[in-house]
Subunit: 413 residues, 2 copies
């Protein structure tokens, strides 16, 4: 774990309200780390619906496979998250570990194993000893309380340098409902891989199908629009839980994501996702600059996304930002390699609002000193205007520093 | 330019024979560098056929566009290569610079501008002052000689730490023919981008169409199977020239790449391409390990290539190699993110012949000390067995070190 907090960490930590129907507790189960919490139990009231999106990896972890299977039921009563071991690439024993963990949690929470959701992050290829949860989860179920969001966000950290929390409160019908979220990543688990986990809880009464649609739509411009190094974990998991407790105070029951009463909620829900995913980019390993890449004038949003991702994942662009160099030549390169429609002679590029390239050549008004000064800002915006159509998209990333290489390459040398 | 030579540089420099019909000369034209040569002129005899493959970038440099257009003629009499300025993203002035350079070269070589081929590597976005070639190219045409291959390879270098040459001699019919090649890259031109340039010359009498087929087929498993950082230059250029001079000593004129008499030549030609492209990987910026990735048991060669490239371009795999860490978990991750068919429970992974993962879990026989020792080898082979089919492919790359970040990020900070 890193000791120094990212310079891009937010200065304010949000006040997290209680979410009616959700209780949290954490413990040190000794999975891998010493002297810190490494297991989170969230217990939810009966009637909680669940939705999830997962890594697209063809080699997913055992907990990802577990969650995918259990999502069909649409109901959740417990969530168990451990840090220190990802239970990935662990073969049959990995599957057995998920079954055992769920059965221990089910006993603790008084529910069926099918209503237990699991996420693991940490070293991969090491068997996860699920017997360590025995006893621990029972105690946690007893002590679980509506507060403890900060403790929960800390328990799921790996190489994260700060806990990641976001919240929003909004009207659903005439009732006030809240949305709380936590995330971890994209840090590395020495000696293994980056994983992004995020969990969102609300007391709004939203049926599983509607929640799934909401989550699927919301992830596109938040978590799926963030990249640290272009590498995809075997364990990436984003789960949303809706307890429905706000129905008691008059919130309408929502069964379709397109329900017009859900408009304000959807906006707030998406803001929580966007907030959490930005925190992930702010904690990118070794990051010194938060980088926002805006592509406009593309032939479509999909095309704009591909170009933005090509720029965001380019080691040459990322090292240039680390060097505080407005190296638009590398941006041109990354646009060119994306394989999407682009016309060199219509292309313009700005760094933090200063246009450096215009219609296929260096902007005649380009002032090196002014741009150099702008590049010292910890937040860098690269705006790429293609001049072809109306497609627009935005992606967040961070720079590629020597610290990234040190974090990911040095620990054994 | 770097001063320290890559630790992966070859210890032997090949003896380059003369290629009948090719003369070379270099000069310091003062494009950007001081105290070194930066322009190469190759003049070829009448009847030289030419073939070329280029960057797939949608924003190619002016010289790439020039060459693509002139390739239609199939004939070449001169090649001008400059280092220090890529003449990329230079708008109309870039096009004018290519026209002017070609007309100066044509006068110097006594040919038509359409028979002149151009390549530029260096800073992008800066106008290239082609008037600097005036006088210089005329003098070079006078002094051009059949030797000077090492000087030529040096003149086209940018951040390369060593010149890159390869040669082969083989029988075509009953005549002996030679193939000489030079390359530069994939180093960075401060303050801009990686570019790979390569030029291959032979005295074999091969018609342009056949040469193009040969080149297109040969590049797949050589230059297209090498990656340093996954970034694609706007200027990547590989040209092949066949003077046909060996016809005088009885070499048969070849008009089809499928001609059975071309078999030995094709093998030698591909070996020169493979040799040059390996040298590029050995000179990857900041490289400390040459990494060969072999994927076998994939559903097809195309699928194997995609998986190999996903591994080769993964920052997490590359930093692990830099840290001399046999981190097979990251290899699993990179296989999983490739999006190609893969079955976790059939997957096996070896580092330098030592199997670390077997059928979806850690190999029970895995000896950490043995693997750690193997990872200190400057040449690392990662073998990934998917167990699905007969698709196989091989890709070369290098590790990602702090020096890479320093070379590409530090120069302005």
């Amino acid at each position: 774990m890193s000791t120094a907090v990212s310079p891009l960490a937010p200065t304010n930590v949000p006040e997290m309200p209680a979410i009616a129907g959700v209780k949290l507790a954490t413990a040190a189960a000794g999975i891998r780390y010493k002297g810190r919490t490494d297991v989170l139990l969230a217990v939810m009231d009966k009637g909680t619906s669940v939705a999830g999106v997962f890594t697209r990896s063809k080699c997913p972890s055992a907990p990802v496979e577990w969650c995918r299977a259990k999502l069909k039921g649409g109901q959740a009563r417990a969530l168990v998250v451990n840090s220190g071991n990802a239970n990935a690439f662990t073969g049959k024993t990995g599957k057995q570990a998920t079954t055992l963990t769920a059965s221990i949690a089910a006993k603790a929470a008084g529910c069926k194993p099918d209503d237990v959701f699991l996420a693991s992050t940490g070293v991969i290829g090491e068997p996860l000893d699920a017997t360590k949860f025995d006893g621990v989860l029972g105690t946690l179920a007893q002590s679980a309380a509506p507060d403890g969001w900060m403790a929960a966000a800390k328990a799921i950290m790996t190489t994260d340098t700060f806990p990641k929390l976001a919240t929003a409160t909004v009207k659903l019908g005439k009732a006030k409902v809240s949305i709380n979220g936590m995330a971890k990543g994209a840090g590395m688990i020495a000696p293994d891989m980056a994983t992004m986990l995020a969990f969102v809880f609300t007391d709004a009464p939203i049926a599983a199908g509607a929640l799934q649609s909401l989550l699927k739509a919301g992830v596109g411009d938040s978590f799926n629009a963030v990249t640290i190094d272009g590498d995809t974990s075997t364990s990436d998991t984003l789960l949303a839980f809706a307890t429905g407790a706000a129905a008691a105070s008059g919130a309408p029951k929502i069964t379709r994501a397109s329900d017009p009463r859900l408009k304000a909620f959807t906006k707030a829900f998406n803001a929580v996702l966007a907030n959490l995913s930005e925190l992930v980019a702010r904690d990118g390993e070794g990051a010194r600059h938060l980088v926002e890449i805006i592509v406009e004038g593309a032939t479509s949003k999909t095309s704009a996304r591909k170009i933005a991702m090509s720029v965001a994942n380019s080691p040459l662009v990322k090292t240039a930002i680390a060097g505080e160099d407005a190296n638009w030549g590398r941006v041109v390169m990354a646009v060119g390699k994306a394989g999407e429609p682009a016309d060199r002679d219509k292309l313009s590029i700005s760094f933090n609002g200063i246009r450096v390239a215009w219609r296929g050549a260096r902007d005649p008004a380009y002032d090196e000193a002014e741009v150099s000064a702008a590049m010292k800002n910890p937040e860098i915006q690269i705006r790429i205007a293609l001049g072809l159509g109306r497609g627009r998209d935005r992606v967040l990333t961070c720079d590629l520093t020597k610290e990234y290489v040190a974090i990911n390459g040095d620990y054994r040398s």
